[in-house]
Symmetry: C2
Subunit: 312 residues, 2 copies
Amino acid sequence: MNPEAEKILAGDPLAGARLISLLEDRDPLGIEILKDLYPLTGKAFLIGITGPAGAGKSTLVARMIDHLRGRGLRVGVVAVDPSSPFSGGALLGDRIRMQSRATDRGVFIRSMGARGRPGGVGRTAREAALVMDAMGYQAVVIETVGAGQGEIEVSRCVHTTAVVAVPGMGDEVQAMKAGLSEIGDVFVVNKADCPGADEMVQLMEQIARHRRCAPDAWCPPVIQTVAVQDRGIDGLIDRLFQHRLYLESTGRLAARRACNQLHFFRQLVVDMATTQLLQDSPELASIQKELGHGGIDPYTAAEKLLKRRLPA
Amino acid sequence: MNPEAEKILAGDPLAGARLISLLEDRDPLGIEILKDLYPLTGKAFLIGITGPAGAGKSTLVARMIDHLRGRGLRVGVVAVDPSSPFSGGALLGDRIRMQSRATDRGVFIRSMGARGRPGGVGRTAREAALVMDAMGYQAVVIETVGAGQGEIEVSRCVHTTAVVAVPGMGDEVQAMKAGLSEIGDVFVVNKADCPGADEMVQLMEQIARHRRCAPDAWCPPVIQTVAVQDRGIDGLIDRLFQHRLYLESTGRLAARRACNQLHFFRQLVVDMATTQLLQDSPELASIQKELGHGGIDPYTAAEKLLKRRLPA
């Protein structure tokens, strides 16, 4: 086993940070280390937190860290939200709170920008969660801004997904309705002391009901929180663990893991194939030159490259 | 030339709708027809309209159609926003207005859901715009909900991108700031008669300034509109055409076209390679089985598949 992998298993935070950086850079060394670690992962409870920008997800996650620590768990956080205080878009209060957590060895926080190659963050977020899992963090929270593919992607990395919105976000939530009903295991109305909370609860309940409640199916609950006042967080965490227990007791955890792993494999295939096909090569250069001169259309150009590089 | 392609060039709306459906289904026949048409495209002015859900983009586009028609132009619209009235998430007033336009041969509207394969809508939206271009629509508007990759993707399909927001969307816009400053050629504060309009104008101006204003660079203007009252739309359209003129007069239009075409080619390579690599095959099945049993990790599995299918 790679000595770096051993450091990760011993929970070394510097080695953890180094490995995640290697993985972000797609460094082959990072992948070699992660291959060593992969069979030893699968112990952490992976929780996804998603919802529109401005839903107070980061404050909620900050409070969740406190409560999970209070329950004696080591907590990892992967923040993909570009507006997250973890990644610098801070409310000052939260940022300070996070810094106080920075000295707690039971908490490991990593933020990553949501930009870059399409689908790339889904991969890197999953890889960061794998690293934290290998480091012995028992709960790993992936926070991502839900918008388009983002919330679908995160649900494929985790065991339990919480969808968060605040009063007044009716339009955004309506627009994301179909996706949210597909992925939400727990729905959270944050800032539940603000005007319009009842309407948002009703909307969330309507979305939650979209999931068929067959006799043994999970019926997603709608939880109210006021994260800045630390209200409702314990109830939220109880529900997340109830969902986890439900997955375990019905045999669905194994199925979800298998499904997530298959999705990850297919994502890797696409990602690696893209890198190989689009890296500088005389073939690619000559096809792109022909395309630039108008000699061929983009379809013919793509087919030409694939015919040479990817024989049937 | 395929007889269907000839119908498209003659502007036949039924043939246009048929072809876009074929392309949505990734039907090889659709691609064959589009290959015939491709060399004849490039005449339309392609305009992207993006911004957070709830910014009133669809109402704005509805008014833009009227004004563009008023200037004697034939107008195509590709609506990728799932909350767009064009795709059924309607404000009743707008939907009726759109229906009245449905009898106008000078307007062609096509809506598509934002879900599906990642990156898939970018491709289909661009293809739909190509079809409308071939049909003789002089202005083609692509409306998409800006969220994560969405707004970046649309800017790579068009010549000019307008970013729309409304008062009170400070959080969402802040979160998308970096991306918006990169892509916005024109910034629009819609519902400019609502409280908070000045703050949103300031925020937009701040984002617009992020684009270096070198002596001959385009400095993105910030426009105020009240789409429901049809106010400010003519000014917006003037600015869009000014940007187009700027691109033409500085030689940047050709560069932008080339850059968009190259991006499209690379998107097609990834898309086609993905389809080929992940379609059912005995190789894929056996690797996935091994992965499912825990015999190999996802990285090794992906490498194994690529080693066989994509030799260096």
